[in-house]
């Protein structure tokens, strides 16, 4: 064991539940094999897996990098919020990033750029836009037969993980990022901030105890971006890409989903009342957009009126 271990600058908390194959790809996308311009010592990945009959397990979680710590938890509620708060409590880094859904893999510049953003502004909020793999949102595509096999074929077509930026060629913006890059949108699957700020926010609100945490992630995102003295950096040339895995809102069929949505919405309204609009914060754009991102910039421009 090393006598001196440098404290990682960033701890990335990834929550896994019933998605071993997708989570393994996500963890590969977080490894230094794939992330550019960073080494294992710069950051750590904390995987928290809530028990299920389809476990990722420690061996698969840690096989791609030496900076991964794996925790297997028993969870009595159907929410990831407790797992997130548990994961963040394990963090050694000066900053934490929350990835509520382990099925979302990243592009190769996320970690380096997040670290750079915190060099500029240690108290910043940093996030990346969200995408769905496929040519339609997965909650739509699932009704038309989209499944894991179709997705595997798409990933094969871009020879993933050779060039992670080619994910853009097989993806659409996720529902909560339809507003594009020039506004804050509703949420992100990579929400990063200082430990200090995480503590000041009190972490995830543990009352969100329903399916998938309901709107807990939107709530965290809004509270963070609206926190005083919190410049918001959007890594607009990077993304998180949702893989199909039968998640609550992205992988169930419409009729069933509508019932669940209503339930989650009712709970969210009970906690937040009507104060649920997306944070009204204009992002500082930061990143080197790959040519495959240009079409999403064009789309985003169409979504905003000149101010």
């Amino acid at each position: 064991m090393a006598f001196f271990q440098r404290r990682p600058r960033l701890s990335i908390v990834v929550i896994v539940y019933k998605m071993p194959d997708q989570a393994e790809k996500t963890l590969y996308s977080l490894s230094p094999l794939y992330q550019q311009g960073v080494s294992e010592r710069d950051y750590e990945v904390i995987v928290v897996e809530n028990h299920s009959d389809r476990l990722l397990g420690s061996e698969r979680a840690t096989r791609h990098a030496g900076n991964v710590r794996y925790f297997h938890r028993q969870e009595t509620q159907r929410t990831p919020v407790h797992a997130i708060n548990f994961g963040a409590a394990q963090a050694k880094g000066g900053h934490v990033a929350i990835m509520i859904d382990g099925a979302r893999m990243l592009t190769p510049g996320v970690v380096k750029l997040a670290l750079d953003a915190f060099k500029i502004a240690p108290e910043a909020a940093v996030s990346v836009p969200g995408f769905h793999i496929g040519h339609k949102l997965q909650q739509v595509a699932v009704n038309e037969g989209y499944d894991e096999a179709a997705e595997a074929e798409l990933l094969g077509s871009i020879a993933w993980p050779q060039d992670g930026y080619r994910l853009y060629d097989i993806a659409v913006l996720s529902g909560s990022c339809q507003g594009g890059f020039f506004q804050a949108n509703h949420e992100s699957n990579f929400i990063a901030m200082s430990q200090k700020k995480w503590k000041a926010l009190g972490g995830m609100d543990p009352r969100y105890n329903d399916f998938g945490g309901g709107n807990a992630n939107l709530d965290l995102y809004k509270r963070l971006l609206e926190f005083p003295d919190t410049p918001f950096y959007l890594l607009f040339g990077e993304g998180s890409f949702h893989q199909f895995h039968g998640g609550v809102t992205t992988g169930t069929r419409k009729a069933e989903r509508d019932v669940i949505y209503k339930q989650l919405d009712d709970q969210d309204r009970a906690f937040r009342g009507d104060n649920r609009t997306p944070p009204n914060v204009r992002p500082i754009l930061f990143g080197a957009p790959h040519p495959s991102v240009y079409r999403f910039i064009r789309y985003s421009l169409d979504k905003v009126q000149p101010q």
Binding site: D116, K119, I120, A121, F182, F236, G237, R282, P283, I284, L285, F286, G287, A288, P289, P291, Y294, R295, I297, R298, L301, V304, Q305, P306, Q307
Partner: protein
């Protein structure tokens, strides 16, 4: 006063009104999110019939240091080197043409890039005030009076980003930010890098320095210890002042040919715009969105062209990276 983080060089010749606007646009009241003590502005004016009003400069808030010098030649190269010798900061900005005013976030985002790395080479897109590039000002009936009126109409001192509304992209970057730039009229780099590229090569002795600025930009962009940052939501805006290549003058083509020949001779090769890949940083103000739209359209076109020709869009960037790796291995 403690040592500033940034020293900005502004060269002035025969453009007192325009240069004062430029200096105002660099002052702490106009620049947002920066402290006056973070930077200094070194103004070097080559004497002409129309010099700046030193008292007016002294009245500006912030740290302006003004030098009026006699220049026997017709190039700003020596003035730049003189100014560089005055700089106290380890990070410098170079504005070879004092007629270019800037937007209010320029210094804030420049200093942010510097926080990320000392290697930051900060590049700001260039614009011309007016609907058309100013080398066509006679044909389009554009005058200094018209320009002053437009500036007043947008109340630019209080609405710096409205400069985007009354401008067009300059010929140095007509295709926007996803194409390589030929030059940059508002460029920031580490002082050691500027020293390393030989500062301003005084052999560029043509009026206005000829293609000196292109040479500086190329050498800085190709320097192994630079990483390009592009402030896509900021700009430098050229005011009409009868410049050598930025106003409609007779024999403009002959002047450009001569400049190009000298550039080739002094570079030792044909000039190419450096294909470095910039990291974009900043907010995009509403009035700048239309330029981003143009950049994206032209960028998509470039992607297609590079694909057809099997060209690497960022060949110079990748070459720099390979050189870096090789250097690390030794």
């Amino acid at each position: 006063m403690s040592r500033p983080l940034l020293s900005i060089i502004v060269i002035v010749y025969d453009m007192p009104r325009q240069a004062l606007n430029t200096l105002y646009s660099l002052s702490p009241g106009y620049q947002q999110g920066v402290d006056a003590e973070d930077y200094e502005v070194i103004v070097v004016e080559n004497r002409s019939q129309r010099n700046m009003d030193a008292e007016a400069i002294a009245r500006l808030p912030g740290n302006f240091r003004y030098f009026l010098r006699d220049e026997p030649g017709v190039s700003p190269a020596a003035a730049i080197n003189f100014a560089f010798a005055q700089c106290r900061a380890p990070f410098i900005g170079l504005m070879i043409d004092g007629a270019r005013m800037v937007t209010p976030g320029l210094l804030q985002y420049t200093l942010m890039a510097r926080k990320i790395t000392d290697e930051a080479l900060v590049v700001v897109p260039g614009y011309h005030l007016g609907e058309h590039e100013q080398q066509f000002h006679l044909s389009s009936g554009y005058t200094e009076a018209r320009e002053q009126q437009m500036l007043e109409d947008i109340d630019w001192r209080h609405n710096g980003y409205r400069l985007f509304q009354i401008s067009c992209l300059s010929g140095a970057n007509p295709n926007g930010i996803f194409h390589p730039f030929m030059e940059c009229n508002c460029l920031f780099m580490d002082a050691d890098v500027f020293r390393g590229i030989g500062q301003a090569d005084e052999r560029f002795d043509l009026p206005g320095g000829g293609a000196l600025n292109l040479a500086i930009y190329r050498k800085a962009a190709m320097h192994p210890r630079t990483r390009s940052f592009m402030l896509a939501g900021e700009g430098s805006f050229h005011q009409l002042h009868g410049g050598v290549t930025t106003s409609e003058v007779e024999h403009r083509q002959a002047i450009l040919d001569r400049q190009r020949d000298q550039l080739t001779e002094l570079l030792g090769e044909l000039f190419r715009s450096p294909t470095v890949e910039p990291i974009l940083l900043g907010k995009i103000p509403g009035p700048a969105m239309r330029y981003l739209e143009h950049s994206v359209a032209r960028g998509l076109h470039r992607v297609q062209r590079c694909k057809e020709r099997n060209e690497d869009m960022y060949a110079d960037e990748h070459e720099k990276e390979r050189n870096r790796q090789r250097a690390l291995e030794y």
